[in-house]
Amino acid sequence: MSAMTKSPVDSIPTYYGRPAVRPSLYGWTVALYIFIGGVAAAAQILATAADLLSAANSAGVLLAARAIALAGAVAGGILLIIDLHTKQRFFNMLRIFRPTSPMSIGTYVLMTFGFWSLAALIVQLIGLHILTLIFACIASLAAWFMTVYPAALLSATSTPLWAAAPRLLAVRFAGSAFASGAATLCIIAIALGAPIARPLIDFAILALVVELIASFAAQRMYQASGVAGPLSERPWGLLHLVAQIGGGLLPIALYIADAVTSPNPGALSIVASVLVLGGSLLMREVMFLAGNESARRPHDYLTFTRTAEGAA
């Protein structure tokens, strides 16, 4: 047997089944940050789009969206500092900018997003509309990256489940962030009786469909790369399915049922929106923890390095 022979992947040996790479130490706090950051970023983008088209018809919804954007950025920053193992050195993140590190990219994206969200909120409270639009547009540019850079952060690791589908993971995160941002604004719009609730629901359905399609496509890639294990077994497989059905298919059905049964969005749509938020949070948590589990499986990693194209 030559050492160079490419063998079938199922015969890849391991070293007494010991892990070949280390799992991340990221847990629920970082996943919670990604959820909150996604909601905040999407709320800012959607509010800015509505504001630009003068479609909101409700200054209350816009104000709430901008407050959520700022609160999300602040809460996100706090969650990230809590996750550091030497917290008092959080400012060392600002020593350098490293474009190969999504963690470094994200530091500056979050700061930019937070700063311009604060600026937009202040000028809106003062009542300077043009300035509000300009600042909110800058914040929204950063918000595009806010919704997806965490996917790049996970993909740029050697954790097989995260690294196996870099593009699809980012599309999932984008879809999930936009759906949860729309769901949040939808709840506020319904509570305030603002007519923007209707297009927000239509948009949330679209974003959910994007996320679901990307998640099914990603699962096919995981199967092909031999890293699907943690997502097809308990507990993460089951919770992943709960997130897909309970936070994806079910809210779509409820939104449609509400639209068919009543002229204006009501309680059913609020329930659907809450489900979207729950599903989005659950999806991030599952992807984080299932990823850590996949790093502990040497066969998954050793198979991944043989099957994946490397740079994907």
Binding site: A3, P13, Y15, Y16, R18, A20, R22, P23, S24, L25, A50, L53, A55, L84, H85, T86, R89, N92, M93, I96, R98, T100, S101, M103, S104, I105, S140, W144, F145, V148, A151, A152, S155, A156, T157, S158, W162, A163, P166, R167, L168, A170, V171, A174, G175, A177, F178, I196, R198, P199, F203, L206, Y301, L302, T305, R306, A308, G310, A311, A312
Partner: protein
């Protein structure tokens, strides 16, 4: 092995001061900034004595990791970690092809694993603080006074090497004895290796030595010998141009817990970020369309 002529100048047991450029006497190489250094670990010479593990722990004052038996083999170290920078793998095989041979003795393959000091180094590319840097000896080191324990280097490493000390809150890994190199000393593990399985030297020189060793082994009939981590070889794949700590192996990389085709994690940033931003922009355009239809 011949004695270096300079060694004859130091016959006494107790030296009054350090020998200048001591590495010249112990490893036959002078250590100078601006050159590339590394390890060549020849697993066919490893006897599993773990002198490298002990020397590393002693020199770097690393605490014990695991004071229990793994129960799987004579390997009670288990693997590399924040506090274990050399790890001798003990691969017990009934026969090379895995088939049982009645009455046959087990076959052992031993391999002293270490940080590969990759070029490109995924841990260094992941580090957002610049704590991980490339030294003047072309090795990769964590600056302990800068690391803030974000832990991103840990999953970035394609070999599961770097670890985070959760008590001290910093990332740690092999420094290729950065402090010793600065003082002209051969790294502790290589100096302590009694069979020269671990060889320290200039990378180009080590590559030559390793290629010669493979040729010699092939000539002796050990045709399974090959290099892992030299340019173009397994281990130096997926934009990892070469590994500063490379190995001579005699079986598939996976049996030593090495991936056969590791890849540079940073190469996945652009595909992910690009696809994601395109999706985000497309969804924003869709949002405009939905809001515009309402405004009409």
């Amino acid at each position: 092995m011949s004695v270096h002529p300079r060694a004859l100048q130091y016959p006494q047991s107790m030296l009054p001061r350090m020998i200048p450029d001591e590495s010249e006497l112990t490893a036959g190489v002078k250590i100078e900034p601006g050159r590339q250094y590394g390890f060549f670990t020849d697993t066919t010479l490893c006897i599993g004595c773990k002198a490298c593990e002990v020397a590393c722990k002693e020199w770097n004052a690393l605490p014990a990791d695991n004071l229990s038996l793994t129960g799987m083999s004579y390997d009670n170290t288990g693997g590399l970690s924040a506090h274990t920078w050399r790890h001798v793998a003990f691969v017990e095989q009934i026969r090379g092809d895995g088939a049982a041979a009645p009455g046959a003795q087990a076959h052992w393959r031993m391999m002293s694993d270490v940080c590969k000091h990759c070029d490109n180094a995924p841990c260094q590319e992941a580090c957002p603080t610049g704590a991980l840097f490339r030294t003047e000896f072309d090795t990769v080191v964590v600056q302990q006074d800068i690391c803030n324990g974000c832990g991103y280097c840990v999953p970035a490493c394609p070999f599961g090497v770097i670890g985070l000390d959760e008590i001290g809150g910093k990332a740690h890994k092999c420094t290729l004895c950065y402090d010793r190199l600065k003082g002209g000393l051969e790294p502790a593990c290589a100096k302590s290796c009694p069979t020269d399985s671990i060889q320290f030297g200039e990378l180009s020189d080590l590559h030559r030595r390793a290629a010669d060793r493979v040729t010699a082994l092939h000539a002796k009939g050990d045709t399974e010998a090959y290099l892992y981590g030299t340019p173009g070889a397994p281990g130096a794949t997926g934009n990892l141009r070469h590994l500063h700590a490379f190995f001579l192996l005699t079986d598939r990389p996976e049996i030593y817990n090495l991936p056969s085709a590791p890849s540079r994690a940073a190469d996945r940033v652009l595909p992910s970020l690009g696809a994601g931003v395109i999706a985000a922009v497309a969804l924003t355009v869709a949002a405009f369309a939905f809001f515009a239809s309402m405004a009409l």
